[in-house]
Symmetry: C2
């Protein structure tokens, strides 16, 4: 993975950038020492290097059991428990679902859509499926609802005994409803570590199991993260440390009024990596009335929707492009005898060569239009490089949050809607809130 | 369709809002009189009411021919030619693709992804498929590339003769490469009117044909738009005109520093309607260094990713919720004997009832957090109400762009990346640009 800041540096105030760059060492050191804000959630910092071959073998063995039996594997989870596995799987899966002998992986428990759940039940009708239930507490409304439906359906389909072998719980090591049920039913379980928050959890069983189920190489994924853990550590000086450089630059731009960061890909399979990134940075930095607003686009598709705004709208944005150097498959731009469309000058080229010129042309055009541009490049879209990318963004996020002066590891604002929802639904224990919200609505 | 501004009005400066409200009449009148900026692209204003039953029957008949023969229908197009049909189809399709006897509809020509195109060719291998090629000029790189590949593949699969019956061109009435080829090959064609821009084209054959192909009711869609055309016309006063009210409110909020509008759904099927909306407003207003940045989220999913930022980040955002009053299918919240997750207080409720309380709870929480909130409600997710929604947003966009003081109907910034791309690829006719860009890169 490479980071190129050339087209951003000219937009940043040199003094501010230098000051922030100097501060990254201390910020990165806080992640190491555990003396900063949110320090009970730093388990992700040395997570990659702590993962053993034995542990990965256990995850893989469980995945293999599910893969052998199930046509469909339903991953139930929300937040990082949804976006982590989906981001990696969609980056590596076939665009149109032709994944060979791999089971189909679908996602549930991340919304309260009645039509969505009805459609899911129809999909599963008459199918052998497995459930990975990812929930620390086991009481999150979205996921618990989906799990109730899925468990009932599975037991009705294969019987209560066989269902036990097709349900895996990824949950707290001892507490909570999901753990309790798993113990009682004898489900295979994996632990969500106490000190790793949802948005940093993709390299725990939260992500790894579902990724292995889809047929992807979790060893290579972890290896990529391990290498990036080394490449971004406290002993790596600023001018060689991509996490610190990215963190400093985005804060420098933010201080100069660049309020929105747009993460860009030119490879549609990276769509959900961008969604994962939005949670990572949005939840970590969007607090105390500050934080860069994280947005994303899929180019060249969205050049024909958001491109106009980016080129000529308010100059309050910057872009970070995640570029993949080589395509995995080969399609040549076809020759056409008649050439009515005038595109024969491209005939015989790899399609990706055209895409790369679209990418370079776009970056130059946006820079000319006043949009600072950072470039993150990986050589190829595979497990190893996704592992690098994941840890790079995680580490950069930790550093960046400390530079911003927030606690990057809490998310106090996520509770507000839940509290109102429970009050509106008359949840036991919310009697006072229910009365208050009813009074407010009837005003 | 209903619009509720109650939770936005308290955030807007009353004087500014009153001034903008007064200006909407003139802005709306400009759409009618055609005396405003961009007035050669006002064909969408009375498009719904100009659509005849004969025309819809012709579109439907063509769709039926393709539906009878093809297992897969590939819609090739970019910008509005992609987002228009996809937005409506995904809103109405089964979440997991179980669309009964309807052909599978897939999208191409909206990117330059080599892996994407390779995956598409694999999907089509050995399948009978049809192509809807949507391109005014026939020379847009993304779409022309995909069409070359698709045409070659189709001819190789079913022969040149049969292929002619399986290709429909939606293009200019007389000019351009796609029209020329269609005439030569004898393809069935439909016209993209000269005076309707891409982002306003979903109710032309650009959208209608692909929507009919997917098995949806284009008559009902158009009827919805027709009714909304009446409901937002110049003879409808401000206090009854949702397009004028929405346009005024969002401009008032923007003038007070609300720089980002987040379009929100609680129904995942509306995801691509939000993408369509982003193009509509982003391309119409993002120019002259101004314009609200259009963003979108799918709730409750994204409450667990972007929710934190929205609740507690910079107070420079407002939300517009598109709410669907009733779900189409029924799932009851299941009872669980053991109730380990403590959710039995929800047992027996419609899942959508819980979703609605999440929606209301979220709106209240975000308003409390300083986020102005507008609410657009449709009774049910069907063709008629999507038609209403589409025209509502189009009309509001025209009025809003004039209030902002831009030409809402051009998109000069979309050319910049193309010019660079062609220069980098040594396109004939771009020799000077090629030399210049090379010199710049080699500096």
């Amino acid at each position: 993975m490479k980071l190129n800041l050339e087209n951003a540096a000219s937009f940043a105030c040199a003094d501010k950038l230098a000051k922030l760059a100097a501060e990254t060492a201390a910020a990165n050191e806080l992640l190491e020492s555990g003396k900063g804000a949110g320090n009970d959630f730093l388990g992700w910092v040395h997570l990659p290097s702590s993962i053993t071959d034995e542990f990965l073998a256990e995850v893989q063995a469980t995945a293999n059991l599910l893969r052998e039996t199930a046509e469909i594997i339903v991953v139930a989870g929300i937040g990082g428990s949804y976006l982590g596995p989906r981001a990696v799987n969609e980056a590596l899966d076939h665009t149109f679902g032709l994944n060979g002998n791999n089971p189909r992986v679908v996602y549930a428990g991340n919304n309260i859509g009645e039509d969505y759940l009805a459609d899911l039940m129809e999909l599963l009708e008459g199918k052998t499926f497995a459930i990975i239930n990812i929930s620390k507490s086991g009481t999150t409304t979205e996921t618990a609802l989906a799990f109730r439906l899925l468990k009932t359906k599975l037991e009705a389909t294969v019987g209560k005994e066989a269902a036990r072998e097709l349900i895996v719980a990824v949950t707290d090591k001892e507490k909570g409803a999901a753990r309790k049920l798993a113990t009682k039913e004898g489900y295979k379980t994996f632990v969500i570590p106490d000190n790793v928050g949802g948005r940093f959890s993709v390299l725990t069983p939260v992500g790894l199991l579902a990724i292995a189920c889809a047929g992807h190489d979790i060893k290579a994924l972890v290896k990529g993260a391990q290498d990036m853990e080394k490449a971004t550590g406290v002993d790596v000086p600023y001018d060689q440390n991509p996490a610190c450089q990215y963190a400093a630059m985005r804060n420098a731009l933010y201080q100069d009024g660049k309020k929105i960061e747009i993460l860009v890909n030119f490879q549609p399979k990276l769509h959900y990596m961008m969604e994962w990134w939005k949670q990572l940075f949005g939840e970590s930095e969007g607090k105390d009335l500050k934080g860069i607003y994280p947005a994303s686009v899929d180019f060249t598709t969205d050049l024909h929707s958001m491109g106009q705004w980016i080129q000529e709208g308010e100059r309050t944005i910057f872009e970070t492009v995640v570029s993949v150097e080589k395509a995995n498959k080969t399609v040549l731009f076809p020759h056409d005898e008649e050439n009515l469309d005038g595109l024969n000058f491209l005939a015989g080229k790899r399609v990706d060569e055209v895409n790369k010129m679209a990418e370079l042309g776009t970056r130059l055009a946006h820079v000319d239009g006043g949009v600072p541009n950072m470039l993150v490049t990986i050589p190829v879209l595979d497990e190893y490089n996704l592992g690098q990318l994941i840890y790079f963004f995680e580490r950069a996020c930790g550093v960046s949050g400390y530079l911003l002066g927030v606690n990057p590891f809490n998310q106090p604002g996520v509770e507000a809607y839940k509290k109102n929802m429970f009050a509106l639904l008359n949840k036991p224990g919310y009697e006072a809130e229910s009365a208050a919200i009813l009074a407010r609505l009837n005003k």
